[in-house]
């Protein structure tokens, strides 16, 4: 029954709305078109599509004010109402109906705006990143090359520092064999001070671990010698460690602006400084791997690696 209605419907549409349609349509074409149209009409919209339609229609209507052709408008006009006026006699009467907001979850008050805020932040962050990567656009290979270069520079920096330290120590030993052992960090050349600092840190960690083991052991009842009763010695043990500890800690905890400043420089620059130092102080070229006998450094093509290519 409904089927025949649909047929009617279709016929009607053709005659009314499309009188200028293709006049010479073969029966096959016509049948195909009919089938297609029928299918389109019969296809059930998915839930999501339907909901989107629903909401779109609602929002569209909600955003449209009633037109002046509305019968009610004419009745109101009789009493002097004009488009844009408000009702009543107060000055701050509403112009627009209250918005309709459908709440479709159980989110608490403020969650929505919190979400929006987070979303906005994320979006801004994404935008910023996108912008940066665009700036850096250049191709992928270029970026990779840059990375490789940086890594290489870091490796070079490390070996340069190691060499510089070794050479400096050797020089110091030759000059004055007495002055050896622990030197306060501050007195170490800033160019390789980070290495020394790292060593001290490792040492402290080890120390602490040992200390911890000791104190656990001391607290374990099985290990405690009941007869001995020399609690004092255990305390003393702990105290013995204290001075060393403090120096280490002080050393590590102290602000070291000089080092920080140096570390903040780009790798390439730090490397350059070290290379220069090695040449000036020790007539050493990292890339030749050779300590020249004099300041002329004859045979070395130059300061940087590129010079050695």
């Amino acid at each position: 029954m409904a089927q025949s209605d649909e047929e009617d419907d279709y016929m009607n549409m053709v005659f009314e709305d499309a009188p200028k349609g293709p006049k010479h349509e073969t029966s096959l074409q016509r049948a195909a078109r009919k089938r297609k149209e029928g299918e389109a009409r019969a296809r059930q919209k998915t839930k999501a599509e339907r909901e989107a339609d629903e909401e779109a229609a609602r929002e569209a209507s909600l955003a449209t004010a009633l037109p002046e052709s509305n019968k009610g408008f004419k009745m109101m006009a009789k009493f002097g109402f004009k488009q844009g006026d408000t009702l009543g006699q107060s000055n701050d009467a509403r112009k627009e109906p209250i918005r309709v907001n459908v709440k479709d979850d159980r989110g608490g008050i403020g969650l929505e705006s919190e979400k929006k805020r987070k979303f906005r932040e994320q979006w801004e962050e994404a935008e910023r990143l996108a912008k940066r990567s665009k700036e850096e656009e250049g191709d992928y290979l270029e970026i990779r090359r840059q990375e490789q270069k940086e890594k290489k520079a870091e490796r070079d920096l490390d070996s340069a520092q190691r060499t510089a330290e070794r050479l400096s120590e050797k020089e110091a030993e030759e000059k004055d064999s007495l002055e050896s052992g622990e030197k306060p960090l501050k007195n170490i050349n800033v160019l390789w001070r980070s290495r020394a600092r790292r060593r001290v840190e490792i040492k402290r960690d080890k120390q602490q671990r040992r200390e911890l083991n000791d104190s656990i052991a001391s607290r374990l009842p099985t290990l405690a010698d009941a007869d001995d009763g020399d609690d004092d010695s255990k305390v003393a043990q702990g105290r013995d460690l204290a001075p060393f500890y403090t120096t280490l800690e002080n050393d590590l905890d102290d602000e070291d602006p000089e080092l920080a400043e140096f570390e903040a420089l780009p790798v390439a620059e730090r490397l350059l400084k070290l290379l220069t130092f090695l040449r000036d102080a020790h007539q050493y070229c990292l890339y030749c791997g050779y300590q020249y006998p004099d300041a002329e450094m004859e045979g070395c093509p130059g300061l940087t690696e590129e010079d050695h290519d």
């Binding site: 419907d9 009409r41 009610g72 009745m75 159980r106």
Partner: protein
């Protein structure tokens, strides 16, 4: 108007009979003499001052010049100042309590201001006693009985009007319905002796339609004005004009919130009197971050309070019946675990919402349970409520309030013509009110389930008054009947958006209640006689034309009461099976009619309560429908509208009813969208789905609907199938095709018109 006077006479006669009864009680005196309120209908022998013996009575009371002292003496008895009968001992004990109420302290001040000015704004928080005491204070000074007038006190809710009237009748030691009565839609419990009448604001508005100056009243008290119901707002607009015409009328606006200056300003700077509430400080807590799920957060908070906080009851605000029942179940389960593990005392949970049967509502006043073992952790009660508990109900013992910040609020938008209840954030004022509930008995705590920033930034200051959120068709009809012609400039406290009025006028015009000039038509005048939506009223009035006014009368009653079908969560399947028994393939309205006819059958009436229970129907709703039907029938008889039915055997029996439905609901029609499940509403073009509750069995291309419900989906609820030719036939104005947007609906209607014309042409040829 004539009808009203007639009714009064009838009731007078009835009352005389009652009076004979009191005489036979052996009082010794004639009731007419002892009851000053009867003076106005006993002309030969006006009541004189010294007839009350030594009982005090109202000796020497001069209208609007009495003192607190005089009133107190009269209240002390020994005889009732208003009836002359000896006062009961119960009265005396209540009187003592009444004098402890906060308002009593200010009786003198109140009286002074009341006597001095015509309009007075009175502010007193819930529990100050204003609703019960102020009208009584007024009685002793206004002495309405001397002029055959009454004091009216309006309430936004029916239940409040009834229960307060009951309470005040007890306080005054009189029978409810005599000196003190109430009047709500479809129920009038007042008599000729009535001097104090509690009524819904809507009822007073209806009375004003017949009596534009409200001449029956000497004082009108608008209570709970802060709730800003539609009727209260309209009444304020009206009374603002009436007080100018009637200098003898006194007006008191009572509000429970401190924002009363707005009322003062609106009423030409009327004097204001505030009674400080008896409240304790309330500590407010916010959450550090917004909640993902406010219900879950609420449950967590309640249980945490129960496990960790000292003694004191909990009040949790949620939004609706389903949510509340669900929460109650969950809290119960968890709390049992808690107390079994010894982590807390016993916890009793009570739901509270409007559609809950009164007996169940009363349970919230039960005391908290005792400790499980003597000396154990104290028991506690937890009330999970809609915003009824926000202002209108006073529950003692609440120390902890949990406020997720939402409530269900009515929303109307004239652009898509949808009036729906939507879960929306509350206002700051509401939040403060909620918090205040924790400080009634002792210092309390309020847990707001949102951040302090959200409170400041996201909540609006005041809840939108109802007038901004309602369809005004009914109101416009009432105002027209009230003689307010220029609705554009009618002085409302918060005028709605112009489009709301525009839409209302348009709808009334299509319903033929207003003509093109906006003047009330005969049909409109008649429709305004019915306390119904204009569409329902028009349907009822035109139903004799379709030979089914009996059926439409029943249906109108059924559509005016709460849901008649009961579908308990635990028994959904069984309930659906039972509903299937009544199902009519053509739709829900006809199904409801089947239910009603079955309910009225002898078999069901033998034990209606059991019958309803067995069939998953609401006995209360059906009983109410019975009552509404009776009231409407009286109006129909008065207006000489014929009651008739098409014989049931006639095959047009149901079709006639469907056609009559169209006569009222032609503006609420939807057409199926292609072959799919969804429909499109006519003219507004909203995509909608049939509500899952519908019984519509037939494949129906066109349906009328009773309600457009907005949730996450758009639903139409309570639908019946109709034929498009009926639409064009019954409401040619609305279905004027020239006014339609191009599209599927217009095409479909065009086809019907063409068919019509062809048929007519054929007939013409013959």
């Amino acid at each position: 108007m004539t009808a009203m006077t007639k009714r009064e006479f009838d009731e007078d006669d009835g009352a005389r009979v009652k009076r004979v009864k009191t005489e036979s009680n052996g009082d010794g005196k004639t009731a007419a003499g002892s009851n000053p309120y009867l003076a106005h209908w006993n002309d030969e022998q006006p009541a004189t001052k010294s007839e009350y013996g030594s009982g005090g009575g109202l000796d020497g009371f001069k209208r609007h010049a009495t003192t607190t002292k005089q009133a107190s003496a009269a209240e002390d008895g020994p005889n009732n100042a208003f009836t002359g009968r000896p006062l009961s001992s119960k009265y005396m004990s209540i009187l003592k309590k009444r004098r402890d109420l906060p308002v009593h302290q200010q009786r003198h001040e109140f009286l002074k201001l009341y006597q001095e000015s015509q309009i007075l704004v009175f502010v007193g928080e819930t529990g100050s006693g204003k609703t019960t005491q102020i009208p009584q204070f007024v009685l002793f000074d206004d002495l309405p009985q001397q002029n055959a007038k009454m004091v009216a006190c309006t309430q936004p809710r029916r239940v409040a009007a009834m229960s307060v009237a009951q309470r005040v009748a007890e306080e005054m030691d009189v029978e409810l319905g005599q000196e003190v009565g109430y009047s709500i839609r479809f129920e009038d419990k007042t008599g000729p002796n009535t001097i104090l009448k509690y009524m819904t604001d809507g009822m007073l508005l209806r009375e004003a339609m017949h009596d534009n100056n409200l001449t029956r009243y000497s004082t009108i008290i608008l209570d709970e004005a802060h709730e800003r119901t539609l009727a209260t707002d309209i009444l304020m607009g009206l009374l603002k004009e009436v007080v100018l015409r009637r200098k003898d009328l006194k007006l008191i606006i009572m509000s429970a919130t401190l924002d009363a200056t707005k009322f003062q300003k609106y009423f030409h700077n009327a004097p204001l009197l505030a009674v400080p509430g008896r409240t304790h400080p309330v500590e407010v807590f916010y959450t550090p971050a917004p909640e993902r799920d406010y219900v879950e957060a609420a449950l967590r908070t309640v249980l945490q309070i129960h496990a960790t906080e000292p003694e004191g009851d909990i009040l949790l605000f949620l939004t609706g019946e389903e949510e509340i029942e669900d929460a109650c179940r969950k809290i119960n389960l968890e709390a049992q675990d808690l107390s079994r593990e010894g982590g807390a005392g016993p916890l009793v949970v009570y739901p509270l919402y409007g559609s809950l049967p009164p007996a169940q509502q009363q349970k919230i006043f039960n005391p908290a349970p005792p400790p499980a073992t003597p000396g154990g952790r104290p028991g506690r009660k937890c009330i999970v409520s809609t915003n009824i508990a926000e202002t209108s109900l006073t529950i003692d013992g609440i120390v902890y309030v949990v406020d997720p910040g939402f409530s269900k609020q009515k929303v109307y938008n004239p652009r898509i013509r949808v009036e729906s209840l939507l879960v929306s954030p509350i206002s700051k004022a509401s939040a403060q009110q909620r918090a205040g509930r924790a400080g009634r008995t002792r210092p309390g705590k309020c847990f707001r389930l949102y951040t302090e920033t959200a409170f400041k930034k996201e909540l609006i200051e005041q809840t939108y008054p109802e007038i901004l959120r309602s369809n005004l068709a009914s109101t416009v009809l009432e105002l027209k009947k009230l003689g307010v012609d220029d609705l554009v400039h009618f002085d409302l406290m918060d005028p709605p958006a112009p489009e709301t009025l525009m839409r209302a006028l348009e709808e009334l015009n299509y319903l033929a209640c207003l003509d093109d000039e906006g003047e009330l038509t005969t049909l409109g005048g008649l429709a305004s006689q019915f306390p119904l939506d204009p569409a329902l009223a028009v349907m009822l009035i035109t139903s004799p034309e379709f030979y089914c006014s009996n059926e439409i009368l029943s249906l109108t009653a059924l559509l005016s009461v709460p849901q008649i079908f009961v579908r308990p969560a635990a028994n959904r399947k069984r309930a659906d099976e039972m509903k299937e028994l009544f199902a009519h393939p053509k739709g829900d309205q006809l199904t409801m009619l089947n239910v009603y006819h079955a309910f009225r059958s002898e078999e069901a009436q033998a034990n209606p309560k059991q019958w309803c229970h067995d069939h998953f129907l609401s006995y209360r709703a059906l009983q109410q429908a019975d009552n509404v039907r009776l009231q409407l029938k009286r109006i129909m008889e008065r207006e000489e509208l014929e009651l008739m039915s098409t014989p049931f055997e006639n095959k047009k029996y149901y079709e006639n009813i469907q056609r009559a439905l169209v006569a009222g609901f032609f503006m609420q029609v939807a057409k199926r969208d292609g072959n799919g499940k969804s429909y499109i509403t006519v003219k507004d073009e909203q995509n909608v789905l049939l509500h899952p509750s519908t019984v519509l069995a037939e494949d129906s291309e066109w349906v009328i609907y009773n309600e457009f419900v907005l949730t996450t989906k758009n639903y139409i609820r309570t639908v019946t199938s109709v034929k498009p030719e009926w639409l064009i036939d019954i409401s040619p104005n609305y279905y004027d095709l020239a006014q339609f947007k191009k599209g599927e609906i217009k095409q479909a209607l065009q086809r019907v018109v063409t068919k019509f014309q062809r048929k007519e042409a054929e007939q013409g040829r013959r």
